[in-house]
């Protein structure tokens, strides 16, 4: 498979995923007006703005988007989604792109978003909930141990305020959650 076919297949895969999601088919109605980019509170920091992301989807250039600083800068504020004149669920499209990158091992230029997500998912898979403290500890130790040290003061402050829980509460039915995960993994 040539490199070009390969990147086109990313577009096909994203479209197939969007078709499964509520109102996902609306992506085809994009008129490239840029309301999404103009509304986005973080597009100024993205390598490709939301409007350009859809242009890249059409041009078969999603590999460029996925290896740049773009999708992990979405803060899920949903402003693009509520303003899009075509009704495109753009925030959901960003989530789908995050999954697509992870699946194909395409790491964005700044990998911290992916690292935080990994720590989050590991904790939820292990306990059934997000024990904030261990998730953050994992994330900082993996990305910037020095900053982890710097955050100890903040952690202590939160602890004193009764806003930091030590230890992890485990959902009683986490066997059930694991059984659910197995069914979904088999079905892939």
């Amino acid at each position: 498979m040539s490199a070009l076919t390969n990147t086109k297949s990313l577009s096909r895969e994203l479209l197939a995923e969007l078709m499964r999601l509520p109102e996902g088919e609306k992506v085809k109605l994009c008129i490239q007006c840029g309301t999404c980019s103009g509304s986005c509170p973080t597009s100024h920091a993205m390598d490709y703005t939301p409007r350009q992301v859809i242009a890249a989807l059409r041009a078969g250039m999603l590999d460029k988007v996925l290896t740049s600083d773009t999708v992990w800068l979405c803060s899920s504020c949903y402003t693009c989604t509520v303003r899009c004149p075509s009704g495109i669920q753009f925030t959901d499209l960003m989530y789908a792109l995050k999954r697509l990158g992870l699946k194909h091992g395409l790491v964005s230029r700044d990998a911290r978003g992916q690292m935080l997500m990994r720590a989050f998912v590991e904790e939820v898979d292990a306990t059934g909930r997000n024990p904030e403290m261990t998730m953050m500890a994992k994330y900082f130790l993996r990305t910037n141990p020095l900053q982890a040290l710097g955050n100890l003061g903040f952690a202590l402050r939160m602890y004193r305020k009764g806003r930091l829980k030590l230890g992890r509460h485990r959902v009683r039915a986490r066997e059930d959650l694991m059984a659910m995960a197995r069914v979904l993994e088999e079905g892939e």
């Binding site: 995923e17 499964r20 999601l21 509520p22 509170p41 973080t42 920091a45 992990w72 800068l73 803060s75 899920s76 504020c77 949903y78 402003t79 989604t81 509520v82 669920q89 925030t91 989530y95 789908a96 995050k98 999954r99 992870l102 700044d110 911290r112 978003g113 690292m115 935080l116 997500m117 990994r118 989050f120 998912v121 939820v124 059934g128 909930r129 997000n130 024990p131 904030e132 403290m133 953050m136 939160m158 305020k161 009764g162 806003r163 930091l164 829980k165 509460h169 959902v171 009683r172 039915a173 986490r174 059930d176 959650l177 059984a179 659910m180 995960a181 197995r182 069914v183 979904l184 079905g187």
Partner: protein, 290 residues
């Protein structure tokens, strides 16, 4: 006393225990009982959706299935993030056979089934539309007259769903706090993003976002910002030292949960409101009211 089934969510058990406490307390004063959903699990939050859509929806739906099994028709949450995630799970589940069948098979492995009937509601919606501003006004024991509050809605209480509050100009917190007689200052950035999880991964991008909100509230003359989301609460409070240092001006701005102000007004016991847990000292501002 009307009981509602309650989904606390992870943040209300860790970084925002004062939100959980004050929510329960204010509800009790207003004749509402919040009964925790037994053995609830992660809502499948933002971070999980970016990894695995079906697992996220399935984990989320597990909570809805547990709720349905109790006979409840509604599930109430105070966290705007959980609120959107649980509602989106309903939308995906009821949106088409592809997701529904897959998620149903996963639920079956846990001995559960879901009929798609549980309505997910934000606590603010329950307080405004079930209890109502008149009943809240009748319960007010301490007028907050003179206190200038910037009600900050953030994103997910009104987006993407755009029904309990307007997506661009939400007013649900204003309507809830009006009966307290506090002065609600004009706050044009009330629905702008606080930075969300980017405060952890991309502080260079998120810090100015939170900074602009605080500066806007300050220039509107607010004594404090009132929020309805645990992440907004942490983002606006925890990074103020740094924001003030970089701005080089301004005084620290107290950040409270709307349930803390409401609780204060309806005479909930002080110790149940967790006011000492706010990172910026609220006592100078609230001295006249406590």
């Amino acid at each position: 006393m009307t009981d509602y089934l309650f989904y606390p969510g992870c943040a209300l058990e860790a970084s925002s225990t004062h939100y959980a406490k004050s929510a329960r307390s204010v509800c009790q004063r207003l004749g509402i009982g919040l009964v925790d959903l037994d053995d609830w699990s992660c809502c499948g939050a933002t971070a999980y959706v970016g990894t695995d859509e079906d697992k996220s929806v399935a984990y989320s739906t597990r909570n809805l299935a547990l709720a349905e099994r109790t006979g409840a028709t509604q599930l109430v949450t105070a966290c705007s993030g959980c609120y959107v995630q649980l509602r989106k799970a309903n939308r995906c589940f009821n949106g088409g056979p592809q997701v529904r069948d897959r998620v149903s098979r996963a639920l079956a492995a846990a001995g559960l089934s879901y009929g798609g009937t549980v309505r997910v509601r934000h606590l603010a919606d329950v307080l405004l539309n079930d209890v109502g501003p008149d009943a809240i006004a009748r319960s007010v024991e301490v007028s907050l007259r003179g206190l200038r509050v910037a009600p900050y809605h953030g994103c997910q209480i009104s987006r993407p769903f755009d029904d309990i509050a307007h997506a661009e100009q939400p007013t649900i917190l204003n309507e809830l706090l009006a009966p307290t007689e506090a002065e609600l200052v004009p706050f044009p950035l009330t629905a702008r993003c606080c930075g969300g999880m980017l405060m952890t991964t991309r502080v260079d991008v998120a810090l100015p976002m939170a900074g602009r909100l605080l500066a806007s509230a300050r220039s509107a003359g607010a004594d404090c910002v009132a929020v309805a989301c645990p992440l907004c609460s942490v983002n606006l409070e925890a990074y103020q030292d740094r924001i003030l240092r970089e701005d080089g001006r301004g005084e620290p701005m107290p950040v409270v949960l709307f349930t803390q102000l409401l609780g204060l007004a309806v005479g909930a016991p002080m110790e149940s409101l967790g006011l000492d847990q706010c990172l910026v000292d609220v006592h100078p501002m609230l001295g006249a009211y406590v």
